[in-house]
Amino acid sequence: MLLVVTYSKAARGTLRNVCRTHDETVVRRFGRAALFDETEFGAFLALRLREKHGGDVQIERTEPLNEFAAVAADVRDAAEAYENRETPSTPYDKFAAGTDHPDPSTLRSRDL
């Protein structure tokens, strides 16, 4: 999908109008951002916004995350284990300490 984020009042206003007029192409709208269908028409709408508002419009192409293809197993395991922890108040760094789970700084330093 195409993620369109606006960074000015004017761009936000245009996005609102576009979303109102083309709800068949707009997958979801969140305040001053929206997801457009990944069709040429979606791209056309996004590019019109960028043409009108320049850098006040950010356009990203999104794709679903396949955690089994893109994320290392220890990260998936850590997420699963942490969400099933016994003491809800334990922060993750404490939870990971002394286990095989990666610590937060390691996770931050590794790109997907």
């Binding site: 960074y7 000015s8 009042k9 936000r12 001053r32 850098g55 006040d56 950010q58």
Partner: protein
């Protein structure tokens, strides 16, 4: 005391009637506000900011909201909103923000071009390898295909290098664009804050003066002329109701405006009664 020099003659006093002249309201207001050189020469006390909201009573322009009218009247009487310091500070910060210009499009184009050429050359390489293989199998001459293959490989290597460089340049521009978006984000937050403070200032200023406004409304409300005003503005998009007009007249009456008020709505029979009703210097148009 107001002095207006027009091509029709000189008018002076605190209640002027220019209805027989061809003076346009916009020119007259510009001259009063000293905005742009016009054919008119107006001498009067300098208008204060509330004059922008209250200085023209007309059926052709949209009348500001009741709250905006009251807030302007309150400001003219020296009231200030408690949110003013926060508003000024936010506005100053907003003006100081500078969003850096980042050209990402050129970098994107460069990556796309290099990628397209690279793909084309890879396809060409595959074709040439196939051809070479075929010629070898049939013991045909291979020198020209080999040369072609060597040239294409060299070109591919160049284009690959260019594509990698282009991708790195795009990464840098994307990072700079992301930094610039932080500033844009901050600007948007400040704009929202300024707008919010503006609304709250208007509300609190309007509140300060609303009881005076209501009292004066009763005394002006009996104005006979209001009943006979033609509420069809020249501009079809503007619909002025008698209630809107009355609010504007009352706000002008309550306000303390040094500069003259231009009245182009035919509400008053003469300038003197207009000045009296509005408690201000008046120019009828």
């Amino acid at each position: 005391m107001v002095v207006v020099s027009t091509s029709h003659g000189v008018y002076d006093g605190t209640a002027l009637d220019l209805r027989d002249t061809t003076v346009a309201a916009a020119d007259l207001l510009a001259a009063i506000r000293g905005e742009s050189p016009t054919s008119l020469d107006v001498t009067c006390s300098s208008p204060t900011p509330p004059h922008d909201v209250l200085g023209h009573v007309s059926l052709d322009d949209a009348i500001p909201s009741r709250r905006a009218l009251l807030a302007a009247a309150a400001r003219s009487r020296g009231h200030t909103a408690p949110q003013r310091p926060a508003y000024d500070a936010s506005l100053r910060k907003l003006r100081e923000l500078e969003v850096p210009t980042v050209d990402v499009a050129t970098a994107r184009k460069r990556v796309a071009d290099a990628g397209a050429e690279e793909a084309q050359l890879r396809e060409r390489m595959a074709t040439l390898r196939g051809r070479l293989q075929a010629r070898r199998e049939t013991d045909a001459e291979t020198a020209s295909v080999t040369t072609d293959l060597t040239d294409t490989a060299a070109r591919l290597s160049e284009v690959e290098t260019e594509r990698i460089a282009a991708e790195q340049a795009l990464d840098r521009q994307e990072r700079r664009a992301a930094d610039a978006r932080e500033v844009r984000q901050r600007r948007l937050e400040l704009e929202d804050r300024v707008a919010n403070l503006e609304r709250r200032m208007r509300a609190s200023l309007a509140e300060r003066i609303s009881s005076v406004f209501d009292e004066e409304r009763d005394s002006l409300g009996s104005l006979d002329a209001l009943g006979s005003v033609e509420f069809d503005g020249a501009d079809a998009d503007v619909s002025v109701t008698s209630d809107d007009l009355l609010s504007q007249l009352v706000a002008v009456r309550v306000a303390d405006l040094a500069a003259p008020v231009v009245v182009s709505a035919s509400v008053f029979t003469d300038a003197r009664s207009a000045a009296r009703s509005l408690d201000a210097s008046v120019i009828l148009l």
